[in-house]
């Protein structure tokens, strides 16, 4: 298990540090409770409902489109590594890939997938 020794040490230090910073203030500081301390921080109005509430379904749709167009960029990496060896052929192949992706993009656009209704 020798190779894992440093990992174990790292985990121990991280745990100790986290414990230290959460436990120490409670031990050292003298508790002086008053009503103002329980209020919402600094400024603004009192929250009237749970903060982690619902948010529009639009966010999910945008996130979904983002994930697709974002991660497909991973397909560029294998080409980028072999770009010099593949020359024109590789470039054309990637062009085809981008065109197909572009067609998808245009379709989403025309269908109104990007409009914030």
């Amino acid at each position: 298990m020798a190779p894992y020794g440093s990992v174990a040490l790292y985990l121990c230090v991280a745990l100790a540090a986290a414990l230290l910073f959460t436990v120490l203030p409670g031990l050292l500081a003298k508790p002086k409770p008053n009503a103002h301390k329980d209020e919402a921080y600094e400024c603004g109005v009192e929250p009237t409902s749970s903060v982690s509430g619902r948010f529009p379904v639009r966010f999910y749709l945008i996130a979904m489109l983002f994930v697709v167009f974002d991660v497909e960029a991973a397909s560029f990496y294998p080409w980028a590594v072999q770009m010099h060896a593949l020359r024109m052929f590789g470039l054309l192949e990637m062009a085809v890939f981008v065109v197909v992706l572009g067609i998808g993009y245009a379709y989403v656009w025309k269908k109104g997938g990007f409009s914030w209704r």
């Binding site: 060896a85 593949l86 020359r87 024109m88 052929f89 067609i103 379709y107 025309k110």
Partner: protein
């Protein structure tokens, strides 16, 4: 320095797939710019023409051999036969869009179905693990969307159910593929045939997980629980396509694995679990059919049983068995498409033809459709004068010849059970009208009627000319 690692042969080999992919890109755009009331027929027409072109290109590949793209895709008769079955399923299902599905959804659905077929075509020729994975995922991802294409809540929910369960199965299969890669150090299926691998624990565990994934996609019991719900929830053309194309493509992968990728000196105990699953499927599928009130659910259970029948032919992995399995698969494709076409001819957007109650006394109102439906149901049950009968005889003969007599017994038992379910529908169709007011039946367009007739003729003709590709086995590798 390689400027172009591909040759003309490579591109010719996957020409059918490219054709379908390009069609799938054209269809949604034609749909965007078509006039509102032309959308349905524009999509069906473009999709159908693309499919026919692909089928023509595909047929030319029959005599070729070898693999293309560095061993990723195998050419030859085996691939071509399965590709043509997928294209048949695609064409037949595209026709069903004529009556079912709302006009504004047809374009997108046709495009997705074409992509799905692309995946199935890839699976038909896949000769390394990457192509298998890519094919299965392309097929499934498009199907998830297609399942949710109706406004009914059941449709949406079937899509979610299918997505979660199928992706989980893909996860198992992917881990299996990783272990298979670990066994041989190569993603090529042919690299697994090395004799030294017969006792490799990576190969055994990897194949087991791989088979679990395939069994799920093929809806073999006990991995079939998703199929009745998904078949019922999905729109009718999608159900028709799914029932044929998924089974055909998965069978192609399974057959290639069994015939071309097993290490030399592998014991037959290695494959025993698959045959047990086949036997279980025949029982579970046929018993499940008895209690159904919905045609799509009934055909889902029927599909579970038929998947079991198909595997009986592969037990013993003989050359003759593979020929007979392909014959039965073609027959199954035609009878299933036929049954769904009749159901679609009785349906509109609401899919009334899906409920079995719609078939009560059908013979007095639509004698032609009732007669054809009876023929397709007889074929599914495996009775003469249909290809289903001859197919079952051939399956039985291989089961007995290879010593898997217990599978043959289960096949007969399953057929006997299924007769009750099929006969119940035929009896209902020819019952006297009970006087209750029946909903108005829609009038199906003529292409639907003609395709139903063609399926019926094909089923009968196949009985007298049992065309099985005789030289298929050399092409598997």
């Amino acid at each position: 320095m390689i400027a172009n690692p591909t040759t003309q042969v490579d591109w010719n080999g996957i020409a059918p797939i490219i054709t379908i992919a390009v069609t799938a890109l054209v269809v949604p755009f034609a749909d965007l710019f078509a006039r509102t009331h032309a959308k349905r027929w524009v999509a069906i027409l473009i999709g159908g023409l693309g499919t026919l072109l692909a089928a023509g290109l595909c047929a030319q590949q029959y005599g070729s051999t070898g693999t293309v793209f560095g061993g990723a895709f195998a050419l030859g008769g085996f691939t071509v036969v399965f590709e043509e079955i997928v294209l048949l399923a695609l064409f037949g299902s595209l026709l069903l869009f004529a009556t079912t599905m709302q006009e504004r959804r047809v374009g997108g659905s046709v495009a997705l179905m074409l992509w799905s077929a692309c995946g199935a075509l890839l699976m038909a020729g896949a000769s390394n693990l990457m192509t298998v994975f890519l094919g299965i995922e392309l097929l499934s991802l498009a199907l998830y969307c297609l399942c949710g294409m109706n406004d009914r809540p059941a449709s949406r929910e079937s899509a979610l159910k299918y997505l979660v369960l199928s992706s989980t199965a893909s996860g198992f299969m992917l881990l299996g593929m990783a272990l298979l890669f670990g066994a041989s150090g190569s993603v090529a299926l042919s690299s697994l045939t090395l004799g030294g691998l017969a006792t490799s624990s990576f190969l055994w565990s990897g194949s087991a997980l791989f088979f679990v994934g395939l069994a799920f996609k093929m809806s073999l019991a006990p991995f079939h629980a998703w199929s009745p719900d998904v078949y019922e929830g999905a729109p009718m053309p999608v159900t028709a396509f799914m029932s044929v194309a998924t089974k055909a493509a998965t069978l192609a992968v399974l057959a290639r694995f069994l015939y071309a990728a097993l290490p030399t000196g592998m014991s037959s105990a290695f494959l025993l679990p698959i045959w047990i699953l086949a036997g279980l499927s025949m029982l579970v599928g046929n018993l499940g059919m008895l209690a159904q009130t919905d045609l799509k659910r009934l055909l889902a259970y029927s599909g579970v049983a038929q998947a079991g029948y198909l595997l009986v032919a592969l037990a013993g992995t003989t050359a003759l068995g593979l020929r007979y399995a392909i014959y039965y698969l073609v027959a199954y494709a035609i009878m299933n498409l036929g049954a769904f076409s009749v159901a679609a001819a009785l349906s509109d957007e609401k899919e009334a033809g899906s409920a079995l109650s719609a078939y009560h006394a059908l013979a007095s109102r639509r004698p032609y459709l009732a007669a054809m439906m009876s023929l397709f149901l007889l074929a599914l049950a495996g009775l003469p004068p249909t290809a289903g009968f001859l197919g079952k005889i051939l399956l039985l003969s291989t089961g007995v010849a290879t010593g898997y007599w217990w599978l043959a017994v289960l096949l007969i038992l399953g057929t006997a059970i299924s007769l009750f379910a099929y006969a119940k529908i035929i009896r209902a169709m020819y019952a006297r009208p009970d006087g209750k007011a029946q909903p108005e039946l829609p009038v199906a367009p003529w292409p639907a009627m003609i395709s139903i007739a063609l399926y019926g003729i094909a089923l009968v003709v196949m009985t007298f000319y049992p065309l099985t590709p005789s030289n298929i086995v050399p092409f598997v590798r």
